[in-house]
C-alpha cells in the first residue's frame, strides 16, 4: 500500500466517523425541537386553564403520548450513535453482520430520505458472524450506499442485503436505477476498491455494464482468508 493510500484511508475513516456522528446529532436536535414545542404547548394550555379556559385532559394525554414517542425516537438515535462510535474501539473484532448492517442502514435512512429515496434491507433469517474491522465494514457498506444514492432519482429504492457464499459473505447494494459512472461516483468507487481490499475483501460488481443496478462486495468470514 502506498503512503498516499494509507493517508487516504486514515482521513476518510475520520471523515466517515465525524459525518455520521454530526448527521445523527442533527436528528437528535430535531427530536428535542419537537419535544420543546410540545412541552411549550402544554405550558400554553395550562396557562390558559389558569386564566379560566377549560382544560381538555384528552389533549394533554395526546401530547404526553407524543412526547413519549419522540423520547423513544431520540433514544434509538442516541443508541445508534453510541454503538456506531464504539465500533471504532477495536481495529479487528468478531461482529454480528445483521446487527451492524441494521445500524448502518438506520444511520443511512436520513440521507436516503433527504434524497427522497426508499432504503430497504433484504436479510436472511439467520445472521452470520464476521471477523473484520467493524468500522471499516460499515464504511464500505455506506460508501456503496452513497454510490447507489448518487445514481438514484427521486422516490426510487435502494436495497442492502447479504448472503453467505462459499468464499465468505457477499454484500449487495441494489438500486432501482442503473448506477451512473460520473466524476463523484468514480472517485467514490476508487476509494471503495481500496477500502475493501484493505479489509481483505474483493469488489465483485461495481459500475459494471453487465450488472448496472448492483454493487457486490465479498468479505472473507475471517481476515487472513481469501
Amino acid at each position: 500500500m502506498t503512503k498516499e493510500d494509507s493517508r487516504l484511508l486514515f482521513e476518510r475513516g475520520l471523515q466517515f466517523l465525524g459525518r455520521q456522528t454530526a448527521s445523527q446529532s442533527h436528528e437528535v436536535t430535531n427530536v428535542l425541537n419537537i419535544i420543546n414545542e410540545m412541552a411549550g404547548l402544554m405550558g400554553d394550555l395550562l396557562y390558559s386553564a389558569g386564566q379560566g379556559r377549560p382544560l381538555d385532559p384528552d389533549r394533554l394525554t395526546q401530547l404526553t403520548t407524543k412526547i413519549a414517542a419522540q423520547v423513544k425516537r431520540g433514544n434509538q438515535i442516541v443508541r445508534a450513535i453510541n454503538q456506531f462510535g464504539h465500533s471504532a474501539d477495536k481495529p479487528l473484532a468478531v461482529f454480528d453482520v445483521q446487527a451492524v448492517l441494521e445500524r448502518i442502514t438506520f444511520i443511512a435512512q436520513r440521507p436516503a430520505s433527504l434524497h427522497e429515496t426508499l432504503l430497504e434491507t433484504d436479510f436472511p433469517e439467520q445472521t452470520v458472524a464476521l471477523e473484520n474491522s467493524p468500522l471499516g465494514f460499515q464504511q464500505a457498506v455506506f460508501t456503496a450506499f452513497e454510490i447507489a444514492l448518487a445514481a438514484a432519482t427521486d422516490k426510487r429504492r435502494i436495497t442492502i442485503g447479504y448472503r453467505l457464499v462459499s468464499e465468505g459473505l457477499l454484500l449487495t447494494v441494489h438500486s432501482d436505477d442503473p448506477l451512473i459512472d460520473h466524476e463523484d461516483v468514480a472517485e467514490k468507487a476508487k476509494f471503495l476498491r481500496l477500502l475493501v481490499a484493505t479489509l481483505g475483501g474483493q469488489v465483485i460488481t461495481l459500475l459494471d455494464d453487465d450488472a448496472p443496478h448492483r454493487i457486490e462486495l465479498l468479505f472473507p468470514k475471517q481476515t487472513g482468508e481469501g
Binding site: T29, N30, N33, I34, E37, G40, L41, Q70, H115, E116
Partner: protein, 143 residues
C-alpha cells in the same frame, strides 16, 4: 390591526403542526407545508408577512427553496430555522436574502418578535415601491 400572516415550512410534521397551533393561539394567521415545493405553491397563491423555513428537507432543501422564493418574490421576508447552524450556511443564507437565521430549538417568543420585524420590513419595502411608482408617474406627467 391585522394579525401577522406566517407560512411555516418544515418536513417534521409534529413540529410544524405544534408550532402552528401555538402561534395561532397567540393571534397569528398560520399556514404550513412540509416541503420546498409546497412553499413555492403556497406563496404563489397567497402573500405572507414572513416565511419560517427549515434548512434540511427532503427534495428541495431550505437554501434551494430560499433561492426560488426570493427570485419570484423579492420582498418576501424569510427566517431560516436550522438544527445545524454553521458560519458557512449563515453566510450563504444571507447572500441568498434570508432576513434572519435561528437555531433549533427556537424560543417561540423570539421567533414571533422576528416575524413582527419581518412584517415591518415588508411594509417598508411596499411603501418604498409605492413612493417610487408615484415619483415615476409624476416625472413622466411633468406636473
Amino acid at each position: 390591526m391585522a394579525s401577522d400572516k406566517v407560512l411555516l415550512v418544515d418536513d417534521e410534521v409534529e413540529f410544524v403542526e405544534t408550532l402552528a397551533e401555538r402561534m395561532t393561539a397567540r393571534g397569528l394567521r398560520v399556514d404550513f407545508t412540509h416541503s420546498g415545493d409546497g412553499a413555492i405553491r403556497k406563496t404563489a397563491k397567497k402573500r405572507y408577512d414572513a416565511i419560517v423555513l427549515d434548512l434540511a428537507m427532503p427534495g428541495m432543501d431550505g437554501l434551494e427553496t430560499l433561492r426560488h422564493l426570493r427570485e419570484n418574490h423579492p420582498d418576501l421576508q424569510i427566517i431560516l430555522l436550522t438544527g445545524q447552524a454553521t458560519i458557512k450556511t449563515a453566510v450563504e443564507a444571507t447572500k441568498l436574502g434570508a432576513m434572519d437565521f435561528l437555531e433549533k430549538p427556537a424560543d417561540i417568543d423570539q421567533l414571533i418578535e422576528k416575524i413582527k420585524t419581518a412584517r415591518g420590513n415588508r411594509v417598508q419595502l411596499a411603501e418604498k415601491r409605492t413612493a417610487a411608482e408615484i415619483e415615476d408617474i409624476l416625472s413622466h406627467k411633468g406636473w
